[in-house]
């Protein structure tokens, strides 16, 4: 199966061969379940510990804190928000929950559901730089704020939020903070121990672990009741059988992500810069957003005035170039740009491109040619349509 030129790595990544190799023995020979109190279960423990060590290392986290293996980042986000309701709101009456208008759908929807339980959901705005500022969080807060849940970076625009400042604001006011770190792990150098947040979630398939592997990080001194109740698996934080092989793959992918961070921040960032520069040279009226902001090294959002982004995405897919416009109701690039003050018509001409450590310079060069052709083609059709309709 040809994968063409894959520039949608912030949606999912190609699983690392080494990670899959780590997984396979648990699908064949070592197939037990760690909750079984006999040898077939117990002998899995060393592999589980080895995998967890890799994840701790990627986060730069102390092993006294807890990491829960989940099936998706979305699961972890939902767990934090529901557990905050049961662990804080029920006992203290603090019932206000803050996320942002440009956040991911799991946080927005899970907080939204709490409104049925008499909670108040607040969406902090984005500024014109595509960021959620600490000031915006301060203005959203009340003495009843129970939780702030924010993505560390936006996976479509690549803009990194000032999480350290926001965490300081939350700490000052005694408010719990959840950071969705899916898009930053392996791309920036988080100093987790210096960020006073209580919870962190991530998707493994953002850094070359297979789909369906993810994690939820919980500080040692914080409670987090399960989303999936039903037993003492994973220290009582999450019941249900799980794929030990998936966890082993996640641990291996985490180790590789650590090794690749320098490369991501230098060579991949260079390729992203070349992509932007050469694309502007080919399509002079294309607009690269938020270039002067702190951004993920692998990601760029670019508008092609006069071209509907859905049409361009579809045409590029047919030509073997894969990009993104986001998905669902909330995490759409057009809406995120519009929420950051970009003219909505222009916003809906934009695509998001995200590279990985596997992206080559040759792919970038070929992608630019194909994108330029497709944009030209769609503009021609668009003009013809106008003439016909005249």
């Amino acid at each position: 199966m040809a994968h063409g030129i894959y520039l949608d790595n912030n949606t999912t990544t190609h699983p690392s061969e080494k990670a899959i190799a780590k997984m396979l023995p648990f699908l064949t020979e070592r197939w037990g379940t760690p909750s079984a109190p006999h040898l077939i279960g117990q002998q899995l423990f060393p592999a589980i510990e080895e995998a967890l060590k890799g994840i701790y290392a990627l986060l730069g986290a102390k092993e006294s804190d807890n990491i829960i293996f989940t099936s998706s980042g979305a699961e972890g986000v939902n767990q934090i928000i529901l557990s905050t309701y049961f662990d804080i709101t029920v006992h203290t009456g603090k019932n206000q929950y803050i996320t942002s208008v440009i956040d991911e759908a799991p946080a927005i929807l899970a907080i939204g559901r709490l409104e049925q339980l008499s909670c108040v959901a607040v969406m902090a705005p984005a500024d014109k730089n595509g960021r959620v500022t600490a000031q915006a969080i301060i203005e959203a807060m009340t003495p009843r704020t129970a939780l702030v849940s924010l993505a560390w970076a936006n996976g479509l625009t690549g803009v990194v939020n000032p999480i350290q400042e926001i965490a300081a604001v939350c700490r000052e006011r005694g408010v719990y903070l959840h950071i969705d770190a899916s898009h930053v792990l392996g791309k920036i150098f988080p100093e987790w121990e210096e960020i006073p947040a209580q919870f962190l979630t991530f998707n493994g398939d953002s850094f070359h672990a297979p789909s369906g592997t993810a994690g939820l990080f919980i500080r040692a001194d914080v409670n987090c009741s399960p989303l999936i109740l039903g037993g003492m698996e994973q220290g009582g934080y999450r019941a249900g059988t799980y794929s030990v092989g998936g966890l082993a793959a996640l641990g291996q992918a985490a180790r590789e992500a650590i090794d690749a961070r320098d490369y991501m921040c230098t060579e991949v960032a260079r390729l992203r810069g070349k992509f932007e520069k050469d694309l502007i040279a080919s399509i002079p009226d294309a607009i690269v957003f938020f270039q002067d902001q702190e951004r993920l090294p692998n990601c760029t959002a670019i508008a092609f005035p006069g071209v509907a982004n859905e049409a361009l995405l579809y045409l590029l897919s047919r030509k073997g170039v894969y990009a993104s416009i986001g998905g669902g109701t909330y995490q759409q690039l057009g809406l995120i740009l519009a929420a950051s003050g970009i003219d909505p018509i222009l916003a809906h001409t934009a695509l998001s491109f995200s590279l990985s450590r596997e992206t080559t310079e040759d792919e970038i060069d070929r992608a630019i040619v194909i994108i330029a052709e497709c944009v030209q083609h769609l503009r021609k059709i668009s003009k013809k349509n106008i003439i016909v309709s005249l």
Copy 2:
């Protein structure tokens, strides 16, 4: 790695080689995510549909109903119970939830948590045959009952609950019914279309799919809001990335489970009968429970008077025979037997043994010799301890 004599198949099963073979391409070549609106995502749809067809066939379900791929049976159980709260209790005030004292921990704990939201949890009793009767459900019900959640069969004793009768009772009273079918799929011939239940959950690793694969079945005319909110994946019933490979493996395992049902109900049942008969011949005072009840064909619970079941489980594990005493706070064999009226001291001498289609007659013969030796050994030690302590 030697797996010894594995008689703990109701905890987890050896993944089928064919199921794993179905999974592998999605870990290597076909690694996209189906929510991506371009070729890399969209080309996964035929495989997803093929897998779902296998699961529909195993359930004997109409494809107009919905099947959601989940990470565990426990996840599905939690989804149904929380969604019933949001979809029924919030709108109607019906706030009583029924499960049974011998049910699995996810149902007991998830219903228990709703008590924090002013719901009432009721645990229907088991009768002396290890069953939950329709009469017990009738007696537990009130006009405010929102949901009954029951396991179709107990995975430790093997006793099958009279689900048809219970479903009829629920239908008459307009109460939703969830059936946890993990232990029956592939072992009995459910006629799902004739059972008026709204929800069904199962774990794939009960029928030789890999761990971390499971399903939630929802009738077409019933709502079930997500446990994991965050997007339109899986028709909006469950957000978050998931392992398409895991789903493919589950579909294949479902097909094999259909093919193996006859064998499970004849040859595996014969081996189970031989195991019980020969074990009694070797250890005359051993007691087989619920032999005259409708039971799963592969499972038996046997007491060894005078022997602590935890000690026996441990010793058997060292000798390469793997059995079960259950796990966690609720699903313990001793508690389940005691709840069915068995003397608690006797109940805590019992082990559960569960065969699979891979269990051989030679394994059964060897297991009996090892079990008899271990029981004799523990009884000797126990007598010596008594003499010493005198």
